[in-house]
């Protein structure tokens, strides 16, 4: 999974995937890949909403300590 995902990039990508699938632009042989990609995007959102971002906390801590 890419690490530079953001909520908005995920949303846009997911929207694009839905569009492709609804417009029948996805070939059967690439379908499995797309499903995997969509699942990852959805999981990213669901997890991120429920996981604390320790990197952020640490960054804040470092700055205020300096």
């Amino acid at each position: 999974m890419k690490t530079n995902l953001t909520y908005s990039s995920v949303y846009t990508e997911l929207e694009k995937l839905v569009e492709q699938i609804e417009d029948n632009k996805i070939q059967l042989d690439t379908l499995a890949g797309k499903v995997k990609q969509a699942k990852e995007l959805i999981k990213f959102c669901e997890n991120k909403l429920r996981t604390i971002e320790t990197e952020v906390d640490e960054a804040i801590k470092d700055k205020s300590e300096n």
Binding site: S8, Y11, V18, V35, I42, C45, L49, I52, D57
Partner: protein
């Protein structure tokens, strides 16, 4: 001349004052100072003063007795302003003289309309000045204050929050409790910027906290200013010109839960006002939930699409199978047709078949071996 006792003189003074003032009340407008509230006995001592070029030229002691103490409570509740030194009030007083404690004014009523009017006027003047002096960041459109801050785009999700509040306040507790115990198990990173939120210095202190947050702005989705619970007084810091201006231009969305339904402060107008700490927390949670349900919708549409694609492909495959089946040799032979071969090659064109050529006629379950004796022209009658 025979001297008289002090009490006799004071009695005369008392009589003179009594004759002039007994049973009469007066409306005065004056600045108050040396305010000493004795909440336990519900009494308040203060002084009325009048100044000329900052020199006090008139001063008189005054008291709110317990049966009029509610006037002060009412004043604080309605105006959202602390009854304290430096205020200018209009009130109804009685003149009273006590042989030991001297001359006093007993306050029996505070004119709330005057107090509110004065506050409102000050607030209005601040608002007008804000609009006039900050034309690029504050606009008054149809009675709404549109500022850079409250018209800026909200992030897609609120997760990293800078919280400005007073430590150990009810507001802080309410907000954190609501946000930490949300039913969706959303997690938030809340960095607290604790400060005094009431009193003379509060506006400057809040401003300092905002500046700290601004230095770290990329690490926050929103700033939440919470003030709630406890006393319903002293909203003045939130009507301060400098603080309001800073809020209006602030680069991160500011949500206020300053906790007063009657009053809207200027800071509220410059930011996004949610009234109470709990309401701020609810908005944040609902906001994230609506993002998640949008994702949920996309998810449903996506998998519906996938299902449709698979279904269509299956159907296509089925019909291809049917076509193949119906044109397979086995099906054809079953229908009574035959395949003719020569030298193990299927004859599709009889051009090379001559007399005496060896042929095999393949039927459903037999092969007939034969030799050609005659070849004649024939008109195709089977073409449909």
């Amino acid at each position: 001349m025979k001297p008289i006792k002090l009490s006799e003189l004071v009695d005369q003074i008392s009589d003179a004052i009594g004759n002039r003032f007994t049973g009469k009340t007066f409306w005065i407008t004056s600045e108050i100072t040396d305010v000493k509230k004795k909440e336990s006995v519900r009494r308040c001592y203060l002084k009325f003063i009048e100044k000329e070029n900052s020199y006090i030229n008139t001063e008189i002691r005054s008291v709110f007795w317990s049966n009029y103490y509610s006037e002060i409570e009412n004043f604080e509740k309605i105006t959202g302003q602390k009854f304290s030194d430096g205020l200018k009030i209009t009130c109804n007083v009685r003149v009273r003289f006590h042989p030991r404690y001297g001359l006093n004014l007993d306050v029996i009523q505070i004119d709330l309309a005057y107090a509110l009017g004065k506050l409102e006027l000050e607030k209005q003047q601040t608002l007008e000045r804000l609009v006039k002096e900050n034309t690029t960041i504050i606009h008054l459109i149809d009675g709404q204050y549109i500022t850079q801050n409250n018209s800026s785009e909200l992030p897609i999700v609120f997760q990293k929050i800078a919280l400005i509040t007073a430590s150990n306040s009810d507001g802080q507790r309410d907000f954190k409790q609501e946000i930490e115990n949300n039913q969706h198990n959303y997690i938030f990173s809340i960095k607290e910027f604790l400060t005094q939120i009431q009193g003379d210095n509060a506006s400057k202190l809040i401003l300092q906290q905002l500046k700290l947050i601004e230095k770290d702005k990329e690490n926050f989705d929103a700033v939440v200013i919470i003030r709630g619970g406890g006393s319903q007084i002293d909203f003045k810091p939130f009507d301060d010109y400098d603080l309001s201006k800073y809020v209006a231009a602030f680069p991160i969305p500011i949500l206020t839960g300053i906790g007063h339904d009657r009053n809207t402060s200027i800071v509220d107008l410059m930011a996004r006002q949610l009234k109470t700490p709990t309401k701020v927390a609810t908005l944040i949670i609902d906001y994230n939930m609506s993002f998640e349900s949008e994702i949920e919708d996309l998810k449903e549409r996506f998998f519906q699409g996938v299902e449709d694609i698979i279904e269509t492909s299956k159907n296509n495959l089925e019909s291809i199978k049917r076509i193949i089946k119906s044109s397979s040799p086995a099906t054809i032979l079953k229908k009574g047709f035959a395949i003719i071969t020569s030298n193990n090659k299927i004859i599709t064109d009889p051009k090379n078949i001559k007399d005496n050529t060896q042929l095999k006629t393949i039927l459903k379950n037999k092969i007939i071996h034969s030799t050609v004796t005659k070849k004649t022209e024939y008109e195709n009658q089977f073409d449909i």
